[in-house]
């Protein structure tokens, strides 16, 4: 169980994490989602004791990370795939970490085998592809057979087989009752891996919900175009729909389905040029939620989406 309580982190004048509070419970894969610069990595670094919070606290099993004596046996984490010395072999890299936590060499060999790196165990990390380094990082996180696992953008640089391996590994780890927290800036990745998502933007918690609930809350809408848009908008409002106008002059109706709109428009003799039922993808939902909280955007990204 991970508990974040009123966590704030400032770097000079910049606020990276702003009174963030949440809990990550065992037995599920929890996605930690937010655009670049939202404060995900900072939060993970504070949880792991690498950064000091300005105020608030981050606890794992009711303790700060630094208070854990054999941390690898309780928490496994990957923050950066490149965090291995290029001159060391994969085996030596893990053996150094293992030795500090009283974990034997047999376990090092076992996690390398599990990560599919057994045949390159005695090769130098400098020659590894990004995907192999990601696997090595995850092998390191599994070294102490931990009950809590934190991964920062673990699928970056992985090929399709690697991504599938991560997904199945994380799902089975959660199924065993472990606490799994996984950060990403891609909703599509979370949709396939996580049961629950925490969405943050500009260091603040925007959503804490299950993926199922998120999908149902952001229901369908209908994009409709007509040369008599004003009349159609009135008609749609009378039907009980909430109506928004797009930049291209189209209308987006929420709360009414496409056949009802078509029948009503026909009865009122309003010509329709387009009638498109749309279901919001999780990606759309995510972009809507974080659009205000995105730090770096181009001019075209700032324009409203149709």
């Amino acid at each position: 169980m991970i508990e974040i309580k009123e966590l704030t982190k400032r770097y000079g004048a910049a606020v990276a994490v702003d009174r963030l509070s949440f809990e990550v419970r065992p037995g599920t894969v929890t996605g930690f989602l937010g655009p670049n610069g939202a404060g995900k990595s900072t939060t993970l670094r504070i949880i792991l004791g690498l950064h000091r919070p300005t105020s608030g606290e981050a606890l794992i099993g009711n303790r700060r990370y630094e208070q854990i004596r054999r941390p690898l046996r309780e928490v496994g984490a990957v923050l950066d795939a490149d965090a291995a010395h290029p001159g060391r072999t994969a085996f030596d890299h893990l053996a150094c970490l293992a030795r500090g936590n009283g974990i034997g060499r047999a376990r090092v060999a076992a996690v390398l085998e599990q990560a599919g790196l057994a045949n390159v165990a005695h090769k130098r990390v400098g020659g590894f592809s990004l995907g192999m380094r990601q696997r090595l990082g995850i092998a390191g996180a599994l070294l102490g057979d931990p009950a809590v696992i934190l991964l920062d953008e673990p699928v970056n640089g992985l090929d399709a087989a690697g991504i599938r391996w991560i997904r199945s590994t994380l799902r089975s780890l959660a199924a065993e009752g472990r606490t799994v927290l996984l950060s990403s800036h891609l909703m599509s990745e979370m949709a396939l891996t996580a049961d629950r998502v925490l969405v943050i933007g500009r260091g603040r918690l925007l959503e804490d919900t299950s993926l199922t609930r998120l999908r149902s809350r952001f229901g369908r809408d209908v994009l409709v175009r007509s040369p008599r848009a004003a009349a159609l908008a009135r008609l749609l409002t009378e039907l009980g729909a909430s109506v928004a106008t797009t930049r291209g002059g189209g209308l987006v109706a929420v709360g009414v389905d496409a056949p009802t709109i078509a029948d009503a428009a026909a009865s009122a003799s309003i010509p329709l040029h387009e009638l498109t039922p749309r279901s919001a993808t999780l990606e759309d939902i995510y972009l809507d939620m974080t659009s205000e909280a995105t730090e770096y955007r181009s001019a075209s990204e700032r324009a409203p989406r149709p």
Binding site: L48, R69, R73, L79, A83, H85, L97, S168
Partner: protein
Amino acid sequence: MTTSYRLPTASNAEAAAVPDARVFRDAVAAEAMRIRTLRSTYAFLAGGMAATLLGMLILFLLIRSFDGATATDRANYETADPTVVVMPFVMFFVGSIGAMSITTEFTTGTIGPGLLAVPRRRVLLGAKATVVGATGILTGLFFALLSFTGATLLLGDRPAPLNPWPDWTDALPTVISSTLVVMVVSIVALGLGTVLRSTASTLVTLGGLILVAPIFAHFLPTTWQLRFGSILLPNLAPQLAGGNHPYLLPPAAAAAVLAAYLAVTLGAGALTLSRRDVL
């Protein structure tokens, strides 16, 4: 691929009750493994060996020139003491091992996994200092013995001032003090590396302290040359051993200066590592 893990229970619960001494011992063992599996360690040891052999060559040439000199000229010869010719370079190379033990962690990002495994920063730095200090003692003793044995064999029964030790046992205090200074330099380099976090800046600073500062001291007026020269790390070795040397400090004061170097640099390293965010 699926996992075959059981949920961690007994063994990890036991881990919570591990005593401090055991945590520190494991951290030291991990650091020893780190320093052993770093290629640069062997490159710097090779540097120390090359410096020792080069120093022996210089002593050999000096002795040959001494043999061919007149009795009057012989009286003006500098002493053939490896403390001057060999040990400053050995200090630099062995010290660099100490510096690299932390700076490579910052430059490659391995400090992250290192702190995840040993999150108490003073324990991590203490473990590194123990390993770096032990490496300094072992390698310092090896190079000191090698160069002093070489010098004693080359000098044979030649007289003072070329031969600083009428008997080989007279060289022992200098061997021990040189070893101690190499150990301190290694830990000083670790402290500097922890503060500076960059290999290039740390090695330049170390080179400045060990190799450049003594040259700089020569340009000072004589009284200042002696005062400044007496507190420089390589010059502490002869002062610590006592006997004949041109500097100002008695052995106890030299030991105090050496301890101050250790306390200031390691203290500054501990303070910055504890306070600053990592990664």
